[in-house]
């Protein structure tokens, strides 16, 4: 065993010890939620129906509609043999009535949503501050289909920023060291909420529209000493987000501002190249920037979408590949600590322990990076990290139930995922040894192909050109401009010909 692995295990066990000291179920809201989650883990079909039901619930207005939907989703004969899920559900909610059900699901959502509005959220943030846990606030929004919505969203962000700055005046850094790298006020923004017409084929247009919407927010953040993070969404938006980040923060006004951050998703095969690209850009720029490393929240979406379109899948197929890559990228981040401030967004104790051990090995002080975890998840791990003297920041979504549903369903999927760490630890009680294994050893050499390969689809129909790929776009552009040139010149020639 390598020294690093030994250290990782030592750290991991320590975290588990601290976690076990304050026993708290993974899903702290007892009762309804816990039972549903337990059922979902046992029965994939139930889980699918449940999550679909949760997804539609906020758009139902009458109680009768809710009960009708409940019936339609769960009384399907197919569930009969599967222990009669309809019956089971009725047992959990014997008083089935629309209002109660909605109330329960809202409760579920409230577990992951830190507040309905900026006023609401302050109470949570204060509590966390007392526990030495920082925050980054994310505004939940509905799918943005128009510029009116996008503008409204941008305005809400600006309000939120003002409010947070006002309410947190005088808050001190939890570690009291290197605090200049970690402003108290931290906002996470999603570019898809700020422009409704993002086309992967046209990054220049997206950037041209997004930059003017972001500048006022960034300017104000800078004045208020706040931090802005660009969250990462699906692969189709990835290159645009990276481009936008580099473009804006190379502008004269923001060139020397260190409090901007972006995200790299370790489940992407491109992630190492993208990270190295950012580091190189950062060095040329000459000012620190921040980077949140995560595994990525859209795994199911990306695999389905690329299979549907017959595209090569941008994400790894094996969970341990993502874990191993997360660790490899952790190293890249630490090796470039002189230009990039790292944050690690994970609930996986192995990933966290690895980060700690590697930081020590490379001599990076624990006050110079932070762990970030999601609101409503893995509370005991957060507490353990604080106790060990690490920086912890919580990602706090704010918003109403309706726009929050997509977010809620993503969290539910994550918590019940077969591959997930939290399920393995808290629902299946795997041993510490099992949980702390070196991910590289778990990668199966023959598992490189997708579960149901895109090539099947590709044989049936020609895939769409993947405009999110720079290469495809460049090829299209070349052909179009060559043709344009020949048309313009021949039309011009014709015109002059006619005149003479």
């Amino acid at each position: 065993m390598t020294a690093l692995q030994r250290e990782i295990e030592r750290r991991g066990r320590r975290i588990f010890e601290l976690v076990d000291k304050h026993p708290e179920p993974l899903f702290s809201k007892a009762g309804f939620y816990q039972r549903l989650m337990a059922l979902s883990m046992r029965d994939e079909r139930f889980k699918a129906q449940l999550f679909r039901f949760v997804d539609v619930l906020p758009s139902l207005r009458r109680s009768s509609e809710i009960v009708e939907h409940l019936d339609e989703y769960f009384s399907d004969d197919g569930f009969g043999p599967l222990v009669g899920v309809g019956v089971r559900l009725a047992r959990i909610v014997p008083w089935v009535s629309g209002r109660i059900l909605r109330w329960n699901v809202s409760g579920m959502a409230r577990q992951f949503i830190a507040g309905r509005n900026p006023d609401d959220v302050m109470a949570t943030l204060r509590k966390r501050h007392a526990q030495k846990i920082g925050f980054t606030v994310d505004l939940l929004g509905e799918g943005v289909v128009s510029e009116a919505q996008a503008d409204e969203y941008a305005a809400r962000y600006l309000d939120l920023l003002e409010k947070l700055a006002r309410e947190t005046k005088g808050w001190s850094d939890p570690l009291g060291k290197n605090s200049e790298l970690f402003p108290v006020v931290n906002l996470s923004v999603k570019i898809s909420a700020l422009y409704s017409q993002i086309s992967p084929a046209d990054p220049a247009d997206a950037i041209a529209h997004l930059a003017p919407k972001l500048r006022p927010l960034l300017r104000r953040a800078r004045e208020l000493g706040a931090f802005i993070n660009f969250d990462m969404e699906s692969y189709a938006h990835k290159n645009i987000t990276l481009e936008l980040f580099k473009t804006i923060f190379t502008e004269e006004e923001f060139k020397d501002w260190p409090h901007a951050g972006i995200v790299i998703q370790a489940y992407l095969r491109d992630s190492e190249a993208d990270l190295r690209g950012l580091v190189e850009w950062g060095r040329a720029r000459g000012t620190r920037f921040a980077l949140r490393l995560v595994k990525g929240a859209y795994w199911d979406y990306e695999t389905t979408k690329s299979r549907q379109n017959g595209w090569d899948c941008p994400v790894y197929f094996q969970k341990p590949e993502s874990d191993a890559n997360f660790e490899a990228l952790t190293r890249v981040l630490f090796e470039n600590e002189s230009i990039v401030t790292a944050a690690f967004g994970s609930h996986n104790v192995r990933s966290i322990a690895h980060t700690q051990a590697l930081a020590d090995e490379l001599g990076i002080d624990r006050s110079r990076f932070e762990f970030q975890l999601l609101y409503g998840m893995a509370g005991p791990i957060k507490r353990a990290l604080v106790e060990m003297g690490y920086r912890v920041r919580e990602y706090c979504p704010v918003g109403e139930l309706l726009p929050g549903m997509a977010y809620l369903v993503r969290r539910l999927l994550e918590n019940t995922s077969n591959e997930g760490f939290l399920r393995a630890k808290f629902a299946e009680n795997l041993s510490a040894e099992e949980l702390l294994r070196e991910p590289r050893e778990l990668v199966k050499p023959d598992g490189a192909s997708p579960p149901d390969s895109a090539s099947v689809v590709r044989k049936q129909a020609q895939p769409r050109t993947k405009m999110a790929r720079t290469k495809c776009r460049a090829h299209c552009a070349k052909c179009a401009s060559a043709l344009a040139k020949s048309i313009h010149s021949s039309s011009a020639a014709k015109k002059s010909g006619r005149m003479s």
Binding site: R61, E142, V145, T465, H475, K478, S491
Partner: protein, 484 residues
Amino acid sequence: MNPSAPDEIVGYGSEAGIPEAEHVVKAARAAFGKWSLTPFEERACLLERAADILERRRFELSAVEVFEVGKPWNEADADIREAIDFCRFYAQQMRRLGPPKLTQQVPGEESYHHYWPRGVAFVIAPWNFPMAILCGMASAAVVTGNTVIMKPSEQSIICGAMLMQVFEEAGVPPGVLNFLSGRGSVIGVHLVDHKDVDLIAFTGSREVGLRIWQSAGVTRPGQRQLKHVICEMGGKNAMIVDADADLGEAIGYSIYSAFGYQGQKCSALSRLILLEENYDRVMERLIPAAASLRVGNPEEPGIMVGPVIDEAAYRRILDYIEIGKKEATLAYQAKEVPPHGYFIPPTIFTDVKPNMRIAREEIFGPVLSVLKVRDLDEALEVANGTYYALTRGLFSHSPDNIERVKAQLEAGNVYINRSCTGAIVGRHPFGGFKMSGGGTKAGGEDYLLQFLIPRVVTENTSRLGLVPEETPEYRDEFLWPKHQ
């Protein structure tokens, strides 16, 4: 001519007259004998070679579409992709249909069912999918052993000519596929009536389709057989938004279905049917969503709404907008569109009633009518209440409502919780019924049968009661002289 900039010439095409039309009919007739006796495997391979060439030239060809017919990039790409898919799919289907198949196993007799081509096919294609539809109809006719006269639309001659080039490079023998550009009113009419044309494959407007249907029914002196007509015509497509629909999704897809390629797809959405209950909530978001669309020259990569095809279309659509203003309420019209070129601002009408012209007639432009209904019963009635039946669909998260609508919507293609455009060959065989077409389903398993005549060959194989053991299920093609 570039519809985004009408003073730009994209290329020159020639206009054939009656003598040229006569010439190609002769050529097609002359080539038929040999081509019909070419093994289907060779014909299938020809299509696959064409597909490979299309794939190689994919970006170049889609660039031409951007300029000749004003397609946004992704739409142009989709058109070439569809052309490729047609070639490969029909090649594969021909291999399935090619070998003569034993009808029943009976001692002492063998009976094989197989197909012959019909003869000379006349393919008349529209400009809105300048490669895909032309290629789909022509490749189906070619692979089934017919010889073909291929007439691209007057508005997309260059795309048509490039497709011809592709087939020539793929090695199509002389006379098998004949390119003929010219006016529908001259050569189109002449060839539809021609005694030596056996099959007409048409995709276009209802008006022209019905005329073809009629004249093809008249027997001309010297005509050998009944003319077979494949007609794919328009639509007045509708989507219903249920009370529990995910509005972000419903609006996103509706906007794309209605305004993608300026509404110039046969499958495009033109009637959005909203339940009273969520009418206000949908409208509140629909209009700003339409207002956010990028209208402009499709040379720019992310443009979604470009120009309509030509001046005639431009005027016709503007006339419909005037009619709409009189009949209903203009709820939205984009303010800024490029001043030159045939740009029509995306337009939405509300207070539309099912009997109004804008709710019944195909406009083929970026105009969406919104109809308000009481409940799902009325929604279905309104959706089904036009003489077209091409694409229709529903946004809903109620399993029961989804089941019901799946069973009751009158449309060749029913779409649930997705856009009603963008059919993929083989996956979503495309085509409608009622006045939208004859149910022929391009890109479907039955399509090639339209180009074929079934034939049965029966032989008494018993000699003095001695019979071969068992007759094979399939046999070699009937070809004479036998191919090596």
